[in-house]
Structures are given as structure tokens and as C-alpha cells.
């Protein structure tokens, strides 16, 4: 997930659901976790909250906010933890706050992630769309045409995500911008379209990132692509140049992505055992998907889920506390 301006993103319908995890306003807690608005970040924020409370007897607030605000809060001391700092998505923030100002630290434990193009398995098997080059074949892309103009339609991300601009660059570079109409919309609209396509067997192709509960909800496959090559990955973002699209070229897969927990340097000084705990947390991608699925799809209460998860994983908590 690329959220260049995460604080500007519309809520994804998750806010109310997760309010129950937020500590009572007004009672100053010992620590504050800034919670992003995407599913896996919300799951891990709650696990971290209850883990710290159980292991250290501290009170922890969870508050939903955008990544830019979280980083500003980590810098000023108003926020202590960001549960998912995505790379390369937040590289500019990492350079500013981690490398230059040194007010934010990152856990060494990385969770590997993927970004790219996905389709339902039925789309791949029945319609033969398995590789990004298949999107250059007008005969194949015609099955994605829903308005009769001869071009297919595909979602490439939300308006405010920088990944959406990069997907536009990739479409131009590969050439499937000529065979597909590229649509940007809030993620909920795109995921509901995947739900409807899966329910009726209709073909669909879309931008995807993982870990994400859609991989548990539906049978989803990645389209294969030429391996990432830094030499061919020339990205100029709209925020940097109005001629960003013509100046960019990226006819290859995304670079390997990953995320880790970020926390403020001041908190690390004040509570070194908590900093050590955060640095030892080693969620797997599969665990992140499972957590997202349980909270987003099964709609379990996040507080109850987090407490139960912690109760069932005492060995993990003990290991993280060493």
C-alpha cells in the first residue's frame, strides 16, 4: 500500500468499527499508537497495544490518524508507535525522520510485502490472463470491457496513493494503457468490485498489495512480470514534476516491499524495554492476513481479538520481551 498522503485519505469504513479499541479520551495514557486506516495496520496496532499493557502494565491509547501525522507526532513526542512503516512507500519520511533528524527508529524485524497486479484465479484459468504481457493482447483484454469501447477497465489504486501514479507509469511503460482504461477510486469500491466479480464468475484484474485480507477472502493470483530492475525503474512523482508521466519509465515489477514497526527515539530512551519489545515483534505476512481477515471480514471485536491472540501466544510475547 502506498499512502503518500495518508492523512488525506477518506476513511475506509473502518473507523467506527475500531473505535472500541480506542482508550477513553481525556485519560492520558502512558503511550500512544498512531493507527493507519488500512486493515493490517489496524490489526497490528491492537495487538501491540494489548501486548504492551500485558507485559509492562502500561496504559496505551490507539488513535487513528494518517501516516504524515503519525510521523510528525513521533518527531514531537505526541505519538510513540507506528505499527506499519511501509518501504519503499515512505522512504522520504524515513529519510527525514529516521536518517536525518534521528527522532524515529525502525524495528529491525521486517515483514515482507508485495505490490503488483492481481486477478481472480478464474480470470487466469478461464481467460488466460496470467502475465502482464497478456494485458497487451486486445483479444484477452476485451473480456474486461464493460462499456463497449473495446478497452478493458481496471482499478489501479486510490487517488491519493503515490502507488497509483506509479501504476499509471507502469501501464504506460508496459503499453497496456492502450488496451485498458485505468480507474482510480477508494479501495472499498475496488474491493466490492472484486467481491461482485468473484460472486458471478466475471473476470477482473486490479492493483493489489499484500498482506491483505482479499487473498483470504477470494482465490487471487498475481500476474507474473519481468523481475524488478533498478536500472529500469525511473519514477518521477506528480508532486515533483508536472511532466512526471512522460519523464518516468518502469516496465518491470515493483521492488521488494516490506514494512516494520516504527517508534519514537524519545520513547526508546524513556522506556528501553518497550523499545526492545517492539524491536522483537516478528509477525509473519500470513499472520497479518489472518488478523486482517478476522477483524475486517469476520468483524470480531478488535479488543477481544487482540486479548485472545495474546492469551494464545504467550510464548511469542515472552520471546519479544527478552
Amino acid at each position: 500500500m502506498i499512502l503518500a498522503h495518508a492523512s488525506l485519505l477518506p476513511k475506509l469504513g473502518l473507523s467506527v468499527f475500531f473505535l472500541s479499541a480506542i482508550a477513553t479520551a481525556g485519560a492520558a495514557a502512558d503511550l500512544k499508537i498512531g493507527m493507519p486506516n488500512w486493515p493490517s495496520g489496524q490489526a497490528s496496532a491492537n495487538i501491540i497495544k494489548y501486548g504492551i499493557e500485558k507485559q509492562f502494565g502500561l496504559s496505551v491509547d490507539v488513535e487513528e490518524m494518517g501516516t504524515l501525522i503519525i510521523f510528525a507526532g513521533l518527531d514531537s513526542g505526541k505519538v510513540d508507535v507506528h505499527p506499519e512503516v511501509w518501504q519503499p512507500n515512505f522512504d522520504s519520511l524515513i529519510k527525514k525522520y529516521v536518517d536525518d533528524r534521528k527522532t524515529v527508529q525502525l524495528s529491525p524485524k521486517e515483514v515482507s510485502a508485495e505490490q503488483g497486479l492481481c486477478a481472480t484465479k478464474e480470470t487466469a484459468d478461464k481467460y488466460g490472463v496470467k502475465d502482464v504481457s497478456d494485458l497487451l493482447d486486445p483479444v484477452k483484454t476485451k473480456v474486461f470491457d464493460t462499456d463497449g469501447d473495446g478497452k478493458g477497465e481496471m482499478w489501479i489504486g486510490a487517488d491519493t496513493w503515490s502507488s497509483t501514479a506509479i501504476e499509471r507509469i507502469r501501464a504506460k511503460s508496459y503499453g497496456y494503457d492502450q488496451t485498458m482504461t485505468l480507474l482510480s477510486m477508494p479501495e472499498d469500491v475496488a474491493m466490492a468490485a472484486v467481491d461482485a466479480a468473484a460472486a458471478t464468475g466475471e473476470p477482473i484484474v486490479f492493483y493489489c498489495y499484500s498482506p491483505h485480507h482479499v487473498f483470504r477472502l477470494h482465490d487471487i493470483v498475481h500476474l507474473t512480470e519481468p523481475a524488478h530492475d533498478d536500472a529500469k525503474w525511473k519514477i518521477v512523482l506528480p508532486s515533483d514534476d508536472t511532466e512526471w508521466l512522460s519523464k518516468s519509465e518502469a516496465p518491470v515489477a515493483w521492488p521488494a516491499s516490506h514494512f516494520e514497526i516504527g517508534f519514537s527515539s524519545s520513547m526508546a530512551e524513556r522506556l528501553p524495554k518497550v523499545a526492545s519489545f517492539l524491536s522483537n515483534i516478528d509477525f509473519t505476512p500470513e499472520e497479518i492476513i489472518e488478523m486482517s481477515y478476522i477483524l475486517q471480514v469476520e468483524r470480531q471485536d478488535p479488543a477481544s481479538f487482540a486479548k485472545a491472540w495474546i492469551a494464545a501466544h504467550g510464548d511469542r510475547l515472552s520471546a519479544w520481551s527478552k
Binding site: D147, W155, A196, T200
Partner: protein
């Protein structure tokens, strides 16, 4: 263009027009002249051919069977989604409206959509509802259509009212989008792209939907299909 299997399946969902009734439909439609470009096709298992389902054929089918083809009738379907129960998802391309239910199910209704679709896609909410709503034709319709001009100040609710038995008014924030999900006195139009806008449902279905939703319900209009995303 959407295609619906008539052999008991709508592609993979196990729905569609029954064999006998489809044969009747096929007999009716042979040689028919298309009044509109076909947007929908259904599969005739006897001839193993796709049959255009347009306004004329839809009307004939409805006259013969007193209901719409099975695919467009209200039914509970499997629907795996992260959206919470009570959310409405509108798939104009396939002419379906889903009302999400617990347990990864949804109630699926057939809908008719405008020739130009909604003209947009995105997330709105049900701002208010009305029973047997008054219909006020837009000014341009009043200007060009003498029948509409008679109701320039509003047509009272009733069986002939174009909005049908119920209307759900779609809002973005606190603003009325002017788009509605409403009933219709022309039930044969379900499954087609023939209305002048909005989403229309059979009166029985809009009454059913109206009874199940809450004010504030989230409504997702999908990007796919019949101009729905034009202007996005």
C-alpha cells in the same frame, strides 16, 4: 454486454431463466427488430445460442410470464465481502444490487439502470427514504415532453408514478446527490439499460429493500459497466 446462462446458471452462480420459459422467450423473439442496442444476452440451452435481451423482448417475456427472468429475481446468494451487513453494492454492469447479509451472504435484486448509467461511481449513503414518493420531472423534460409538463409541480405518488412504491435518496455527506434507488411501474425494464437515470427496481423489491435498510446505510456504486464510471 452481459450474458446470462439460461440453463439454470448465470455463469457460475446457479441462477438464470428456466429451460421452458427460455424456450418461450426464444420463440417470441425470433425475427424481432431491436429497438435498442442490446446490452444483455441470455443463453438458450435448446439452441445453445446467446439471445439478445432487449426492451422489446423483456416486455414480451414479462407479458408471458408476469415476472422477470430468474436471474433478476430477488434471491439470497453467496457473497464473500469485507463490507458489513446492511451495505448496498450496485453492479450496474450485471444489473444487480446486493444487500450484504451476515455469514458471507447477500440478497441480490435485479435492477434497471439508465442508458447513461449513473455517470459516476463511488461511495454514498442512504440519506432519506420515501414511501410512494412524489415525482417532479426535471425542467428539461417538462420543456420537451407535454406528458411530463402536466406534472411540472409534482406527480403524486401512486401506481403510475415513475418512482414506484419507494425511493432511497442517495447522499454524499449531507448533500443530496439527486440520484435515487426507486421502484418502477415498468417491471419489464429490470435487467436493461433503458431508464433515464437512477437505479430502478420492481416495486416488490424496492419495498423489500426499503424494509431492510437503515438511514445512513453505505452504498457502493461499482466502476464497471455501462458508462457507470464515465466522468469518474
Amino acid at each position: 454486454m452481459k450474458r446470462y446462462f439460461g440453463s439454470g446458471t448465470l455463469r457460475t452462480t446457479g441462477l438464470g431463466i428456466g429451460r421452458a420459459s427460455l424456450a418461450a422467450l426464444a420463440a417470441i423473439v425470433v425475427g424481432a427488430t431491436l429497438a435498442y442496442a442490446a446490452q444483455t444476452q441470455i443463453f438458450d440451452p435448446q439452441t445453445r445460442k446467446w439471445v439478445d435481451y432487449d426492451k422489446k423482448k423483456a416486455r414480451q417475456f414479462h407479458a408471458a410470464h408476469k415476472q422477470v427472468p430468474e436471474a433478476f429475481r430477488r434471491q439470497v446468494v453467496d457473497f464473500r465481502t469485507a463490507e458489513k451487513p446492511g451495505t448496498i453494492i450496485i453492479d450496474g454492469n450485471q444489473h444487480f444490487l446486493y444487500l450484504v447479509q451476515p455469514g458471507l451472504k447477500a440478497i441480490r435484486y435485479g435492477i434497471g439502470v439508465g442508458r447513461e448509467g449513473f455517470g459516476w461511481a463511488g461511495i454514498v449513503r442512504v440519506g432519506r427514504t420515501a414511501e410512494w414518493p412524489t415525482w417532479t420531472p426535471p425542467a428539461e423534460m417538462v420543456a420537451r415532453d407535454p406528458n411530463a409538463a402536466k406534472f411540472a409541480n409534482g406527480m403524486p405518488g401512486g401506481p403510475d408514478n415513475p418512482l414506484g412504491a419507494r425511493a432511497l435518496y442517495l447522499y454524499q455527506g449531507d448533500q443530496d446527490t439527486i440520484y435515487r434507488i426507486h421502484g418502477t411501474p415498468e417491471p419489464w425494464t429490470i435487467g436493461l439499460d433503458v431508464s433515464s437515470g437512477c437505479i430502478r427496481m420492481n416495486n416488490d423489491d424496492i419495498v423489500d429493500l426499503h424494509s431492510r435498510i437503515e438511514i445512513g446505510a453505505k452504498v457502493i456504486v461499482l466502476m464497471q459497466g455501462a458508462s457507470l464510471y464515465k466522468g469518474v
